[in-house]
């Protein structure tokens, strides 16, 4: 083996090692993306829906439990109509007033309001309380009961949601 052959092998080895390093670098850039391209800014569209000004509201009287979850049967109200929803004037006191305690239908509501009724009897005996269980589901309207409350009650406690 002469010196020139050793020298040629050494150069050939260096060439192969260099080529591997360059190929690895180029390959990595191809797979990972170059630093420059990773920092390129892109524009994307907003995925969120737009406010519509339309709100859901309580279900129709006697409607099925699931009706309020159905866009075709779920009543809605527009923002412009909401301005008509105002709070009623308050009572001077509860003395000798009639207060309806209305169980809207969630678990424990009736028992909770019975305990509240007992509290009124013990602590504010002049208050007449009437415990009523709303008909239908917790999500449906009960216009007959509302009319009765308007006619016979001075105030109302609704519960227990959630």
């Amino acid at each position: 083996m002469n010196l020139s052959r050793i020298s040629a092998r050494r150069y050939w080895s260096l060439f192969v090692v260099g080529a591997i390093i360059i190929a690895s670098y180029v390959g990595c850039k191809g797979v990972m993306g170059s630093k420059e391209s990773g920092e390129n800014k892109v524009t994307v569209l907003d995925p969120r829906g737009q406010p519509s000004g339309v709100f859901g509201r309580r279900g129709e009287p006697g409607s099925h439990m699931m009706a309020i979850f159905n866009p075709e049967t779920h009543p809605t109200i527009a923002r412009d109509e909401l301005v008509h929803l105002r709070m009623a004037s308050r009572l001077d006191s509860l003395d000798n007033k009639t207060i309806y305690l209305v169980d809207v239908g969630f678990a424990g509501g009736k028992e909770f309001l019975e305990e509240m009724q007992a509290w009124f009897n013990q602590n504010m005996p002049s208050v007449k309380t009437v415990l009523r269980i709303k008909s239908g589901t917790p999500f449906s309207d009960s216009p007959e009961l509302w009319a009765e409350i308007k006619q016979k009650a001075n105030g109302v406690v609704f519960g227990v949601g959630g």
Partner: protein, 423 residues
């Protein structure tokens, strides 16, 4: 009661939902005088409830009954007399430009995804997706909310295309995704009971876009089934404004919600008329049908009495949807039930449940004939909507080489693999 009947009202909601109802009242322009007992009030001893009545509101730390009395008697403040309705600003069409890495993080941090990687909806990708329909990108498709009362969010064809890109769909899938969007049903409504949903595709489009109705139709082995089902939940998050613990209150959640139960009906193997035909569409029309419930309750086998046994054993809210392997449906037909609607009527009568109506019992034929079983769900059928109206005049926009995952071989006459392997 306050606005329409003029009666002062003290509403009571458990403390777990305090933030929810306060925000909701404000969005409706009412500063209602809430009282918040601890949560829950159901299924607990009387003594505990009495303690709640005599104790403090855990949110305000005020005596609970003092709040109730004050709610009815304390004079209205100026803010209460003249509440302001918050008007939410319109969203921009484009987000601020940023690097892809930052945008991916931003979508996650903002809660705009399902937690899995998405495809970013760049202008180019959305424009390509929109080639999947002829409809105007700015055409309004519908409104949606995961709650029953908050402000609904409106969405256009372009917004639906954005969701389709995020889900990893191609233009060929867009008409089906638009049809789902047109139902305006979120797949994840905000029930504390944690809903699951199902969407079933009927008609020629299912085959055109490579949907699976056979072996593992409801499993993770089909591109179209997966991205279409996923798009439904991504649109529910973004159009329905689902924010966990805020607008979305499903206490346990539902693992089905990632891609929902999304498949095509196995019309070729079904002994019955396709589901959409039973709902008034032509067999040649393509549709989506949406279902929702809480539970996939049990498997079943056997005849009509086997189905009836499942109804009697498993409570529901008065609805059942049976997802039947074709072999199970064929067994029922052999028993004489050539019309599933008549079977629904028979089952409703035999169940003797006052809540169960024939229209509340539905049958779908899905599966690859590897087992004559049926899944019993408490799903309610809501709506069947047209896919055809969203398909371009020139037909479904297929890629030059549409992406398809490996398909299960059809099993004919019970010889499935044997027959194929020996051809």
């Amino acid at each position: 009661m306050e606005g329409e009947y003029g009666v002062p009202t003290a509403p009571i909601v458990t403390s777990r939902f305090a933030e929810y109802v306060i925000r909701d009242g404000h969005s409706h322009g009412m500063n209602l005088r809430w009282t918040f007992p601890p949560y829950p009030v159901g299924w607990i001893p009387r003594e505990t409830l009495r303690g709640y009545i005599q104790g403090n509101d855990p949110i305000t730390k005020v005596k609970l009954m003092t709040e109730v009395v004050d709610a009815l008697t304390k004079p209205l403040s100026e803010d209460e007399k003249n509440p302001k309705i918050t008007v939410k600003p319109q969203r921009p069409r484009l987000l601020e430009p940023d690097t892809e890495a930052n945008l991916h993080q931003s979508f996650l941090r903002n809660g705009w995804t399902d937690g899995l990687p998405i495809v970013l909806p760049t202008e180019e990708r959305v424009a390509e997706m929109l080639t999947g329909t002829d409809h105007d990108p700015q055409e309004v498709v519908g409104r949606m909310s995961v709650t029953t009362h908050e402000e609904m969010k409106e969405y256009t064809v372009e917004k639906v295309a954005v969701i389709a890109v995020m889900a990893g769909a191609r233009p060929e899938h867009l008409p089906v995704i638009l049809a789902i969007a047109s139902t305006q049903h979120p797949s994840i409504p905000s029930s504390t009971g944690s809903y699951g949903s199902m969407v079933v595709v009927n008609g020629p489009v299912a085959k055109t876009i490579g949907m699976n109705s056979g072996v593992a139709a409801l499993g993770p082995f089909n591109y179209a089934n997966s991205v279409i089902g996923r798009a439904w939940t991504l649109m529910s998050i973004n159009f329905g404004d689902a924010r966990p613990g805020d607008t979305f209150m499903a206490t346990i959640g539902n693992g089905l919600s990632f891609t929902n139960q999304c498949c095509a009906e196995n019309e070729a193997k079904s002994p019955w008329q396709p589901f959409h035909v039973r709902k008034g569409f032509k067999a040649s029309e393509s549709t989506v049908s949406v279902f929702r419930g809480w539970n996939v309750m049990t498997l079943g086998m056997g005849t009509a009495d086997g189905v009836l046994q499942r109804i009697r054993t498993f409570d529901s809210m008065g609805t059942y949807t049976f997802v039947m392997d074709p072999l199970a449906a064929k067994a029922l037909k052999a028993e004489g039930w050539s019309d599933p609607d008549k079977l629904s009527k028979y089952l409703a009568e035999k169940s003797k449940s006052p809540f169960l109506k024939p229209e509340g019992i539905n049958f779908l034929v899905v599966g690859g004939e590897t087992n004559p079983i049926f899944q019993t769900t408490d799903y309610v059928f809501y709506k069947t909507a047209s896919v055809d109206k969203w398909i371009p005049k020139n037909g479904i926009k297929l890629d030059k080489k549409p992406l398809r995952m490996p398909e299960s071989k059809e099993c004919e006459d019970g010889l499935c693999n044997y027959a194929y392997n020996n051809k």
